[in-house]
Symmetry: C3
Amino acid sequence: MKESENIGETLYSWAKDLFPICRSITGPGVRDTLKYLKNIIPELQIHSVPSGTKAFDWVVPDEWVIRNAYIEDESGNRIVDIKENNLHVVGYSVAIDAWMSLSNLEKHLYSLEDQPTAIPYVTSYYNRNWGFCLAHEQRLSLRDEQYHVVIDAELKKGVMNYGEIVIKGESSEEILLSTYICHPSMANNELSGPVVTTGIAQWISSLEARRYTYRIIFIPETIGSIVYISQHEEHLKRHTSAGYVITCIGDDRAYSFLPSRKGNTLADRAAEYVLNNYIDEYSRYTYLERGSDERQYCSPNINLPVCSVMRSKYGTYPEYHTSLDDLSLISPDGLRGGFNVIKKIIKVLEFNHFYKGNTSCEPQMGKRGLYPDISVKNSSGYDEANVILNILAYADGCHDLVQIAEIIEEDFFIVHDVARRLVTHGILEKQ
Amino acid sequence: MKESENIGETLYSWAKDLFPICRSITGPGVRDTLKYLKNIIPELQIHSVPSGTKAFDWVVPDEWVIRNAYIEDESGNRIVDIKENNLHVVGYSVAIDAWMSLSNLEKHLYSLEDQPTAIPYVTSYYNRNWGFCLAHEQRLSLRDEQYHVVIDAELKKGVMNYGEIVIKGESSEEILLSTYICHPSMANNELSGPVVTTGIAQWISSLEARRYTYRIIFIPETIGSIVYISQHEEHLKRHTSAGYVITCIGDDRAYSFLPSRKGNTLADRAAEYVLNNYIDEYSRYTYLERGSDERQYCSPNINLPVCSVMRSKYGTYPEYHTSLDDLSLISPDGLRGGFNVIKKIIKVLEFNHFYKGNTSCEPQMGKRGLYPDISVKNSSGYDEANVILNILAYADGCHDLVQIAEIIEEDFFIVHDVARRLVTHGILEKQ
Amino acid sequence: MKESENIGETLYSWAKDLFPICRSITGPGVRDTLKYLKNIIPELQIHSVPSGTKAFDWVVPDEWVIRNAYIEDESGNRIVDIKENNLHVVGYSVAIDAWMSLSNLEKHLYSLEDQPTAIPYVTSYYNRNWGFCLAHEQRLSLRDEQYHVVIDAELKKGVMNYGEIVIKGESSEEILLSTYICHPSMANNELSGPVVTTGIAQWISSLEARRYTYRIIFIPETIGSIVYISQHEEHLKRHTSAGYVITCIGDDRAYSFLPSRKGNTLADRAAEYVLNNYIDEYSRYTYLERGSDERQYCSPNINLPVCSVMRSKYGTYPEYHTSLDDLSLISPDGLRGGFNVIKKIIKVLEFNHFYKGNTSCEPQMGKRGLYPDISVKNSSGYDEANVILNILAYADGCHDLVQIAEIIEEDFFIVHDVARRLVTHGILEKQ
């Protein structure tokens, strides 16, 4: 994939294809999603972890297969039907086939009084139960009669799947990108995450060279990251230089930043540099407002440098976790904006070395054509020369390029270009 | 003593009983005061340090016995009489029995021009002298005649007394409470100090268990703390986790905080947490405004974590160091408020452990009933679960509970209750 | 030289004498300048470094001798003549003797459109070239005719000169003062620098005793400091406690501070203390606005604690680097102000020891006459006693006197006097 104006359209078309799939934390929906992504980026490895596998305090749950789910009224009308919207069934519902009164059915219905047209997204992963979700206005219209409730579902030993791409770089130091693939038909949270991450993975693969190794994973939220961490704990702790949870990155209403627990890690600094310098406005949340897999990556005994750059953050927009978070909420423009921010952060990370001058005092720039030959006050040659001198002044092996760019108030990429030029001139060395 | 609504009345009644005693840094007044307190709390040990004992740069002074002190005019009227107010005699006055003119007497009179009705509190501990203190308006009314000046006092080898209670706890780490008992009839500065400290000592004794050992001392100011430190220097340095000078804690006009020299010690942090969170408003002074025994405890070569929580701080209210600082200035409410702040600080210290999670990643809270079974957005179960998750997020063995409460903006005692519950659930460990 | 009201006049008279000399980074002008200064302060050693000597990335350039330079018009009028103003010739111009058209001449003319009456100061040290500088209004009046262009100059193997005074103190720790002597007839930038530095050197020499050794150098800017550092690198790194570049210190429009690269070094702290406390107002620049020899002293691999205290900083005033920076721009008052600031900084450095109390707890001040005998509230004796107690409270061997003065908000020199008195009393020790 080449970087192009069309990246937004491409990402949006993937989201459109993936939207109808009924995902949960396990089962065919996850597999279908991963297969679709593997078609785009064949390096994607699809892994299976058996039900019952222990992961720290957790156990991989049984696999959930949902075949059908509907409610029929006495006249045989299917008033709620998973075929119309797969949010209608509570995730991980057990099977049922029974007639019951409205009052008994009510105990298994979920709706949102303050969003009467929205079908809420409800799950019950770790407690066996069943239920239906529907618009509150529909719920109010239900007559007091008998209903035929059918959920054709199965919870059985099986596997939890996840996808993984490792793209080797010059260094064994890694950048971790983590996104999730466990929500049924919702767009900003969640499809924006896997499609932007897939686009980024393609772009990273297409680079001629990479400084870092990239570990990119597509997992079910929470249980997926816990299992992944439990199986790669030492490796992640030793090699992760920076990481990002990629989610809620497809609408065009906002940009958002959620720091790592430690804060001010390389991951945070690169992300905040890009947001501060290339984005007009963004919301900065605190770690107390976290809500995705950074909860696991940053947990005290794991403590990785992982933060999250989003567009409209989960929990902050009204359509969140309802049927209103559909394909109309995200847009090619929104996805492209998110994609470009992640890409810029990665560029910053790739270029963000420590440098050190290899002479004492300032080098003689004039003899290298880096300084005006003639010293006249206010002449323009000084601006460029000053950037060079300022970089040399702080390139002491203790400030990385992001810090130097911030101190000298010069664009990071200009600072990087100049630093590389100074390496060529033999007056600066990459540490 | 049980914690009760009546604690204020009790403390006030003790102050009332102690008010008439003519205290100084040594002598019968100190002994009578300590005996009164020992009746309330029999664990109080009364110690005697002989005059002439060296303590760092200081020497315990001779004991002062004051039997009578008055000024008679030519008509035989006792116009100034220690029996009316024991502030009338300058502390540590030497004996005198002589007739003299008003102009000679004037050299030994002390009054306050700007507080004409107040008898000032004056001492001359380390320079042999004599004098009388009186209201400025009375002084102005003195006729130019001969006066009979009588001070029946003695300065002799004797002892300096102080009281000490050590209440053992589970740990040999100690909390130091220090108050003084060397001022004659004054209420906020000083009787509020020893009565609140005695109430606190009773309450600590009544606890079923204590984490810390409590070292509670009743000393004459300055010389008392210097002598005490000189005789317990290594012990105090090794064992003192936090300490408080308890003084000026009986009126109801203000709360005040004076930090330790180092600042931000455990003592400071616990006190400031309580003041910031449970007191509407308080004045924060700097260590430059110190004036009591923290001068000794915090001196550079001693350097203990000792600060001071007061109501109206010494030197800041007009009645300070005059006869106007009497029983009408303090109140049961004022004393109870001071008592409760000290008690709350001690509770914070008792509970303020470091905790650490004993699993990696978040624990599975659902299986322990700590998380809503059904995930529906905006449901109330999340608030409680979030407190738990936030505590787990910062319980990394590096943040104590006060710090966690501040970071997650949740009440310390709720944080403590939750932490204890999580220990019961086996997902958190006390360090 | 005695410290006197006349110091400003004296410094101004030296500047007046030095003004006509045609200085450059090498050559007779530098030697004449150094000889003049050696007459004032005979300790000045004049050193010679041969052309071609290597210094880090640099090489000492050939020596420039300028004997004459003028432009004649067809009528034989000398329209531009170095004899009128030695800024008329571009520094390091090579020799020329030729007739040329105005359009050819124009390529070698320098003027300032927005300062039409000023002759700019232009140099071409490291690129062989020639040129003339003139007022823009004169340039516009040149007719289109032939001009006779004469520069009688020579670039030849020779030496680069600099001056050095080392005044021994009790300690081998050094204060570095660095000023430059390479600009032709300009006053604030540059003659104010060497004349104030010479005055300071005289004053330091006249002191009965000195704590520090003073290393005072008069060098051509940039190449001079680079050569000096390259020949004294280990010594400077081991012994320099603080250093100052002295330049632009003769007008009376402003005071300015430019910090060292590291910031907050002893040099910075002493300078900022003096500016904050004894100067009404000053401009604080950042290290990004540097422009003189601190560029070399603070360069990452040298990293000395060197900052700069100026009056109107180079580059910030309109007359900078033009013929308008003449003797009318500086004044006796301006020079005296600059001299006094540097002197005060040096006094602060001389006195700025670490002290530590040699008793535990507060000493008994009363027996030493340092505390009021009689304790009466609000009496004036406490103010003085409080200064003593505050010094003792922070004299912990970790805070130097500047820090103590700042913490206790008391004048540094009072703090110093009191500290010395306390040493006499045997209660404080100099570390």
